[in-house]
Symmetry: C2
Subunit: 155 residues, 2 copies
């Protein structure tokens, strides 16, 4: 971590740092992680801070919590350049880049109520990523296109 980044939000002892979030998307990541009135964890968020690679970026640091795979997959949809660092005793113990797969399974639903994936059939929602930024996915079953705002509404 560079000195520049240290200026905005401090290191954490144990927990997760989500770095390189697309600028302006920290609040969406916070929504995915259900950060709100009921959270007890110490959380720091930095929005629109300078970034060498991205020009500007957001960061979210959460004390004492590691993310589950579903949360990581959701973050990948909204912030495909994000890196997730697991911190233990102030040191990065694990570093992973989120990756937006070409095919998205299970974590979002088709917004078309008539789609077979919304019926009682045992059909798992499945989407093709048509564009990463701006995000656009297409339903395998009914070809309905969903964009970022449609997806955010489900989180």
């Amino acid at each position: 971590m560079s000195k520049k980044q240290m200026l905005y939000v401090a290191k954490i002892k144990d927990g997760t740092v989500i770095d390189h979030i697309t600028a302006g998307h920290a609040m969406n990541v916070a929504k995915i992680l259900d950060i709100g009135e009921k959270s007890n964890a110490i959380i720091t968020i930095a929005i629109n801070v300078p970034s060498k690679d991205l020009g500007k970026k957001d960061m979210v640091k959460i004390e004492g919590r590691e993310l589950n795979p579903e949360e990581v997959d959701k973050i990948a949809l909204l912030a495909p350049h994000a890196t997730i660092n697991i911190i233990r005793n102030y040191e990065v113990k694990e570093k992973k880049e989120v990756r937006l797969p070409k095919i998205v399974k299970g974590i979002i639903k088709c917004a078309n109520p008539a789609c077979i994936s919304n019926s009682n059939e045992p059909v798992q929602p499945l989407f093709y990523v048509e564009s990463e930024e701006p995000l656009s996915v297409k339903c395998h079953y009914c070809s309905h296109i969903m964009e970022k705002q449609d997806i955010l509404r489900q989180f």
Copy 2:
């Protein structure tokens, strides 16, 4: 500012620090201030950090922006202990405590659609604050009670 606070989010050069926000309410304050994808300002948020006075608290720091009176009034509804510091060249130039008045005028609407304040009559919404925490306000015209979640939906 104490050393302890410096550990979480850094000083800003020019802008506004909203301190002593009721713990867990920073995201609501962010919503009031319309912090999201379209913001360009550098913003840092600290949630559930230790506080001498409140046990724990939230903070929001916004570079290059001062709040308008309506924003301050809305924050008072959700975080009645908040202090707002205007920062210029790293120093606190002005400090004000938000204050939840006994009577709230104009900034929220009655959630009862049949209330006269929701008709075409020239009637300004007016509420009595029945309880600060948890927040509860009563409409002057129809006695409808609104709680925090009802009010948040309007912001």
